[in-house]
Subunit: 417 residues, 4 copies
């Protein structure tokens, strides 16, 4: 088995390798190839050296700047690159704030700019994977669900699975609260990536939703720490993804973002420090936990393990709905529980979605599709149409100027007429 | 043929009667009954006297305060009442402004309060109509589409048609621009009441959309006068209902509403003046045109004429989608072109809706259903859930207080626990 | 307005011309072009001379053997040709009988052979129409519904309407029984051509189904005369198309067909006699009534009249379901009531189809699609798959030989590998 | 864990018990209760004694004639009763033959009579299970899919799974041919019970359909032995359930049935012999293999094992489609691959069904629903409607007499007006 990691210059990579080491008890890994762009060559080298120390002789770890060599003959390809690196993320977070709009990497107008910058690279890399391998792609590149919608519905490449670390963290939290194994839990959980809703929790066939909802607090990792009020769970009868705060507490979150500065800056500091540590480390330094993305490595490694086996297990991933949520269209890419078995992903049927969830899922999915069309048509007009539809987007009066600001900051990455 | 007008104390009534006079060439009207509540008895009397002068001997015009007598044996019942009268509308418009939210009678949180106040009365009156007649109800009571959703999907009363004056004004505008008859025009027009989209215009089978879009300006009656910029039509490739401004230019509209005061106040002044004029008038005074609701009377009278005939004509009304817009659920009550024939309304199939329209239609329909559930469950929690979903609704931080303000202002009308 | 009639050498043509004369009061017809193939040149000439005597100076009537000249610049094109002429029909009717299978021109294996012979010619003619005109095609060529499925769903040509004389005869029968105008009637009527079901009859909004069902007898023209027993209507709660007999009384019908000989033979005799009469006639001879196809001319002429106008009227035609029958797919071509207005055809929504009807509609539609695929793939295998699915088709043991017999008899027309 | 077996006087029961013994390594079984009706008390006793010898002390085996005691507090209830016993089956097989119709226990008119006789008993037993336990019912009672349609869609009891031994035999055959584990296989397999289609076979993610189709012969157990010709698989591009022969080779099968006599008779002989052997046996006698129903015991035991666990495995069972087959309605009960996990059954999404399969599935599902309605309405008329729709059903001319014959033979069991 060959695994290629695209965007391997990330400080996440060592933990990912640790995940591969863990699953190598169950599946036989031959080779891991680390790939990144020229600009990140130095970081890639440091990380390559570090991972070799971690892996010892369990499997080969190579590095390359050549995307074809990286994916050639691979069985699994992991996308974890960030187009434009942290500089671009900084822009995504800063520009919307000037218009009193949420600046966040995946949600709102920040995510919009990120998506437009990411699509062309994803398109190129997916074509390369398709040409040079039969690999299944596991995607972490943000905005992860939006990218998966693009690949499955517009590029027509089918072996592509969008993954996020939120479901696995949620499952871990529930298994701790309920004192059971993760495999004993089944969730009625659905939505778009970072716009998901947990409606029911079953532990060994018992509906424990009521009990759990009372116990759960909103402390998912990697996101701002202010909690939803408890009465909100009672009103919604849904446990929402913490990214919902950007919609439901827009004003509060906006002030917070303005006050605290962008996340990109902090991440840059943490990353520099981590890279420094990686030069000499022989194991994952505890400082990595500040980086966010908790359990990311476990999610990816376990998914690869179960994809490569026949036994059949359930993972929450981004894929086409295909009737799993009955009152949503079959072609919507959604984050839903799926049976994973022999490199295939089958959504399992979970009934109907709640009205509140439906309203937000539909409007954001339509925003996603308009944004994809804006890229495919290279059209400023359609880009504005997409922004105007987004509940966190601009008003008519400011939309054109905002788009120009985004285009200016992303010269060379986004090309619209 | 007997026609009952519920809420006949409205200053619109005389023009409605003029509409009946016009269609009495084609259909034989025996009797029109004007009904209103005790509180409006004096206005009802003035209007009754005036309409008798208008009608002469063409048909009988009666008045009553008894709803059963009004609808008994009726063939058509027109709902045009306003629960809580202008005082309540004033609250609907004022309260949201305190929270920097759009205060408007049908859209946003104003419409939310109006809906909750209106549902119980609609429920009672619909039951009365059902028990004492085989009449078809034509509804103008606001929020008109929301009320129709409630009646068709939750009360299960089928002979109920939601009507609005916007489509007929749009058709008139197009017929003037295109120099053709209204019946030569077919519109690909769809959406929810006050959230509609015109996508295609056909005149005698020719697609004239491009030409028309260039000519059309947004000057529909009864709404604030500021226009959308021309580039917006090019970006959307849709001609939106002017109420869309509340969504797309939320900040501008909010300032405007704050600056100009509520519409309720102005309407009250116009109404007083009109009632004074009605005491002696022998024909509709020109001052009525300031009242808004242009062509309302024509829309209602022509619909009744065509419902009572077999020939088959097309009207844009609010009814269940039933597959007419292919990518929206069959049970959504929508404002769409329908074949009207022998008291039956058949939506005609018009293909798929645009993504931008879909996004807004879905989220507002889900808001509508949550609001209806809040009424049916008498639940504050569900009411908050509805408000939080609305793109013009409050944030989590202010939702509870806002709901309490609305309940306080609507004591005796809205009863939630 | 130019109308082209393809297959105009048919003895139906003079009556069709009478229909055009009738509607020429309402619409201005400039020119009618009669087209047929070389083989029918003589008949075409006789009919051309006769129709000129009928038309006088009302409009021009031309004849041509050149399909491009015929359709060039036409507004309406009528398809009424029979590929292979009566000789082929005779085979369609005879061959299945050898296998104890129903031999009928549109239903069962006869219709299967007819369809495979007709598709290539329809494909060629539709392309010619598309290239040389903006005409709407009105199709009578059998199997009419199957041909319309092929054109709308597989050729993607949209201006194509399948027509049958059964609905207009049904409406006339009901208007006589109910003593009302046809336009006062609305039918819940649906299905595939020659596989339709009448579920409800409304006259001026009154549901008169019960009364009518008691009165109606199955005496539709152009089909074998033996009636269904009365109890069957009570059991089905549907008034079925008389072609249903081939399904429901298969054994009886088979014996009848064997006993009476093929219809093709009789038609040939009637046609010879008619052509002889046409040589000198100045008006439609009464002998035409034996030919079948009653009211065909009226159906076509009225449809053209109403397509060319804006007023909007209801016709039962074959077009895509588009949600009109809620529990059948949108893309099924069906025979259903449609609003006809300015060259557009909009199915009107009529609710859900009955289980009995659904079962037969689905299986026959799937048979239709497999037959179309057999043509498109030029595949004997798929042709056998189609035949095996048909409830009137062969068993596995005889399917291959039956197909070979059909191919042998249709050499030069059907080409499968 | 308590398991109740209803209809435990069957000679299948000892093998079923062997299955429980096998899974008792993985799950802890406390008690098995064997239930049958008074009439079978003697057989029940013999079988009870025999199973006690088999089980030794692994778990308790009780017997009872009291249905409440049997199901009270049960975790799993197995339905394997035959209403009217073999005498009734004999009628089901004989009567249709008099009309030259297929007489078979589950397919055609035999299955129709069986269904009408079985529904009232299923209704009563399901209510009892619902009242006295939280058990999941596993149904083998024939016609198994039809019974499951009745329970899930018309009784609204959800914990009901229809099971058949054909899928497990198919999987075993494929695992032998492919030399792999059953869990390495994934089938695109769908349809109604005894009307299923295998379209694709994946072994460890490789599409091996082509290779397998060439190797497979139609030798499924429990059904007449004549094979489909090999060219048929190529034409259909589907591997059909062997019960398809009754549809596709109707004449041949009819002759065979007439020639060979009913299966009921043979079964009766085998059963007598087996019961005799059971009196003294200490293990399953080899003669059981003649009884048919091969692997029935394994299918049931493994399903119970996997229902009671959290790990998640795939079984092919009868349940609501729920979007799994995209082009079939969500509420059709179908035989499809499902994820089984903690007493829940989730159909996995497998894409679109083939046209040939669709046609037959739809018509038989509509026949099923009409038959269920006939029972619920106690209506002869609807019963005839159902029979007329069935592709193996009678013609109009004989339908009434056939129904009377069935009612006469099933007096006391079927009550229609």
């Amino acid at each position: 088995m060959k695994i290629a990691v695209i965007g391997a210059g990330s400080t996440y990579t060592p933990e990912l390798i640790k995940g591969f080491i863990e699953i190598s008890k169950d599946v036989s890994i031959d080779e891991v190839v680390l790939h990144d762009v020229e600009q990140s060559a130095e970081k890639l080298d440091i990380i390559h050296q570090f991972t070799k120390r971690l892996v010892k002789d369990l499997f080969k770890v190579q590095k390359t700047l050549d995307i074809v060599k990286a994916v050639e003959g691979a069985d699994y390809v992991i996308f974890q690159f960030r187009v434009g690196l942290l500089k671009a993320r900084e822009n995504d977070e800063h520009i919307p704030l000037r218009y009193d709009l949420i600046g966040q990497e995946t949600t709102g107008i920040g995510g919009f700019a990120c998506a437009l910058r990411t699509f062309p690279v994803v398109e190129k890399y997916v074509q390369t994977v398709d040409r040079h391998s039969k690999a299944t792609v596991i995607n972490f590149t943000n905005p992860s669900g939006h990218v998966t919608e693009f690949v499955l519905n517009y590029l027509g490449f089918e072996r592509f699975i969008g993954l996020c670390n939120i479901p696995i963290n949620l499952l871990r939290m529930i298994s701790q609260i309920s004192n059971c194994e993760i495999r004993d839990i089944f969730l009625k959980y659905y939505g778009l990536n970072h716009l998901t809703f947990l409606e029911k929790v079953f532990v060994k066939d018992q509906d424990v939703t009521e009990i759990l909802m009372q116990k759960m607090k909103l402390h998912l990792a990697n996101i701002p720490s202010q909690d939803f009020p408890e009465w909100l769970l009672d009103a919604l009868k849904l446990y929402p993804n913490s990214y919902l705060r950007y919609y439901l507490s827009q004003k509060t979150m906006l002030e917070k973002l303005k006050r605290e500065g962008t996340r990109a800056e902090k991440v840059r500091q943490i990353e520099s420090q981590l890279v420094e540590l990686y030069k000499t480390a022989n194991d994952i330094p505890p400082e990595l936990s500040q980086r966010g993305g908790s359990m990311y490595s476990t999610a990816a490694a376990h998914l690869i393990r179960d994809l490569s086996q026949s036994s059949g297990s359930v993972h929450i991933v981004n894929t086409k709905n295909n009737g799993a949520v009955k009152n949503l269209p079959s072609d919507y890419v959604m984050e839903i529980p799926c049976l994973v078995k022999a490199n295939r992903v089958f959504p399992v049927t979970i009934g109907e979605a709640d009205e509140f969830a439906l309203g937000l899922i539909h409007i954001i999915k339509m925003y996603e599709r308009l944004t994809i069309k804006a890229y495919l048509e290279r059209s400023k007009k359609t880009a504005i149409k997409a922004m105007l539809l987004h509940p966190l987007g601009p008003n008519v009066e400011e939309a054109q100027q905002l788009l120009e600001d985004i285009l200016m900051a992303n010269k060379g990455f986004i090309d619209l007429q």
